[in-house]
Symmetry: C2
Subunit: 416 residues, 2 copies
């Protein structure tokens, strides 16, 4: 494409191009249950069994036939003979017959014949092993039926899910001991700019390219393996060399900086001359981040992220993250959890723009409820503190220039 012109297209166009042009290379690896947290499932998890496998008691007490208790009152109690005792996790092969009761602990599997359970504190037990009930028990009372938690053949977790700590308990209950997860694709990260250095503890004239470390950590969270390629100066041939190196050693390349249209913005040309199809899109209709772009070479994505932190992370959320998900064989559409909350302050923009505007917000307590406190202002994409403090972001449509305090906004939650 002609690299001289920037066309500010919707994020949907990026997603469409990512689906079309970026090759899915979904490599998987079998991973044991105890190192699954944070990994991304490469397969749907389908239950082979009912959970619980049999009906279970919800209480410590006695398993009974409810029909034996229908007429029980204080003056005419039901008296049932204790015929046995259920042990936890043992599948009982005993059967409760009429006028019988069986001791059962919380979580014990119900014996045959019994359809309900009565709490130990709701009965009297006499020395001759008789249980006395002075009120009826409903059929099914205090019993969980087989399959109540998960039924056989149910899809428990979908491909693409990021495994959370709590999932592990359920997986072990289903006797799943290892799972195919998406192998972390290697994602190269290249900082571009004469003013930058990759030497930590740099002082003086050059600034350490610290945004690359934040992006590396976001790549890890996204299920990728970051490969830090350091810094390249504003020199097109040098940038092309690094792009080639990145494409040779990784499944994706993210560049940071040099994406605008000044004399030093050489990344677009460098990408376009690095192979086919080259630069595909340059510009997105959201600020900060509008001079982001996307190239593809040999099916591998090159995401051009601007160098000011707020722009960089916006490009990461809307372009890099979808591209990484596409490589992993997952749906690249961006999905943020959303909540509607009142905004805590007036927001006023100086002039209407045709861009959508993204503002970082923090969830704060106002008058007993949660509100969204705007942290960032348009035109200040270099401010880092708002990004660190944000619980999420809101997006104002094109041409909207103000929101009044108390108006409801939709917050896209980060880190959930």
């Amino acid at each position: 494409m002609p690299t001289s012109s920037i066309r500010y297209v919707a994020v949907e166009e990026y997603i469409a191009k990512i689906k079309q042009e970026v090759k899915a290379r979904p490599e998987v690896e079998e991973t044991p249950i105890n190192s699954l947290t944070g990994r991304i499932l490469a397969e749907d998890i389908t239950s082979q069994t009912n959970l619980p496998p049999h009906a279970k008691s919800l209480i410590d007490g006695y398993a009974v036939k409810s029909e034996d208790t229908t007429d029980a009152t204080d003056s005419h109690p039901a008296k049932l003979k204790i015929m046995g005792k259920i042990k936890l996790e043992k599948q009982p092969n005993i059967e409760v017959k009429n006028t019988e009761a069986c001791y059962i602990p919380t979580g014990g599997f119900m014996p045959k014949g019994a359809d309900s359970a009565v709490k130990v504190e709701d009965v009297m037990v006499s020395d001759d092993d008789l249980v006395t009930l002075s009120a009826p028990v409903q059929a099914g009372e205090h019993v969980t039926p087989a399959g109540r938690d998960v039924s056989k053949d149910q899809v428990v977790f979908r491909r693409g899910r990021k495994v959370r700590s709590e999932d592990i308990a359920l997986l072990t209950a289903l006797e799943i001991w290892s799972i195919k997860v998406v192998k972390r694709p290697r994602v190269a990260i290249l900082s571009v700019g004469d003013e930058l250095t990759d030497r930590i503890e740099a002082t003086g004239e050059k600034k350490f390219a610290g945004i690359s470390l934040a992006i590396a950590s976001l790549v890890t969270e996204a299920g990728g393996e970051p490969v830090l390629m350091g810094v390249v100066p504003d020199d097109e041939a040098a940038i092309r060399g690094k792009i080639r190196e990145g494409l040779d050693s990784a499944e994706a390349l993210l560049t940071i900086g040099g994406t605008s249209k000044g004399p030093k913005d050489l990344v677009a040309n460098a990408i376009d001359r690095s192979g086919s199809p080259g630069l595909i899109l340059h510009g997105i209709d959201i600020v900060p981040g509008r001079v982001s772009g996307l190239g593809v070479v040999d099916g591998k994505p090159i995401v051009m992220m601007p160098g000011l932190i707020q722009s960089t992370v916006v490009a990461f959320y809307f372009i890099a993250l979808p591209a990484i998900r596409q490589i992993c064989g997952l749906n690249p559409e961006p999905i943020f959890k959303q909540v509607q909350v009142p905004i805590a302050d007036d927001v006023t923009l100086r002039t209407p723009t045709t861009f959508r505007k993204l503002l970082f917000v923090k969830l704060v307590n106002r008058g007993g409820g949660t509100a969204a406190q705007p942290l960032s202002k348009l035109g200040e994409a270099s401010l880092m503190k708002p990004v660190a403090d944000a619980d999420g972001f809101i997006v104002l449509p094109a041409r909207v220039t103000s929101i009044s305090r108390g108006e409801y906004v939709t917050v896209n939650l980060l880190h959930t």
Copy 2:
């Protein structure tokens, strides 16, 4: 304390006892910037400098004195002589005088004398290095003042913060290359129950103690280092032996199961006979989880968590997590991010109780907005799928028995 009686106290009483009885052992370790994500800061981070250190241009264009442009119009434009060029990150030692302009890139430090910047696309530049402006520029326009992002001596991050990916960029900008973080305290995890085994791929009579793996992962998320102690049968002497082993090898011990008052619930007694002060609290006024408890021996906490998954995680959130934070020298009060959303379904409890009731919920889209879908029901604390599916939980006050669809509830967000 007498171990025979359970007293259902408020979570605040647990927090108070944790503050009183659990010894803070805040060990720290210096950690480099590139492995900070997820670690917990052991110190406040105070900025030694202004960020940006000097006023900066927000645009590509020219730094000017706004007073030179006050009367500029189409017919009477201001003409300024280009006297130099700012390079990124170099602190300029040039000064813009009246009728002069200086080329400046986005992010460049402002030269002395100039108080504003004008966009390259808003001016004409002639071959004789004259910049022509046909409208005035406001003082401060397109300029970020020094310290706008972070000011010198500002506390940027507080002790106790869990470092997020985005923080790293800000820390490097402040030239902070390593930080003291809380050393992960060792947290032993012991499963109790004749029905359990710690042999993965167990089949047949015994059930794998899978909840311990979920809790181990939650301990890691909380900043601790889990130590899996396996399974001990329902035998008080054996439990006491394991408690001793756990206290010898870890800073805290979490037990799972055997916390109720049945004949096999021996953990309370075992804790009370393991040292001084022994069992401190048994019972909490929230369900699921009401038979949780807390013991302390030699300043180390022993958290008694019930064995049904929903009860276990509730005990983890409200007792274990505060205890771990106390050990780390942090404020143990539980803090969940909260949002108010309508509930997606009616909730009806059969009978009023004096307990607060915790229900797991999922954030779902209803009619264009986010609502909280209840996933769990009281009395079904063994169901695992609601815990895995939950985005958060709501807490119903004592005696409340119903919420109508559409009513606003406060959701405590998990994993944020």
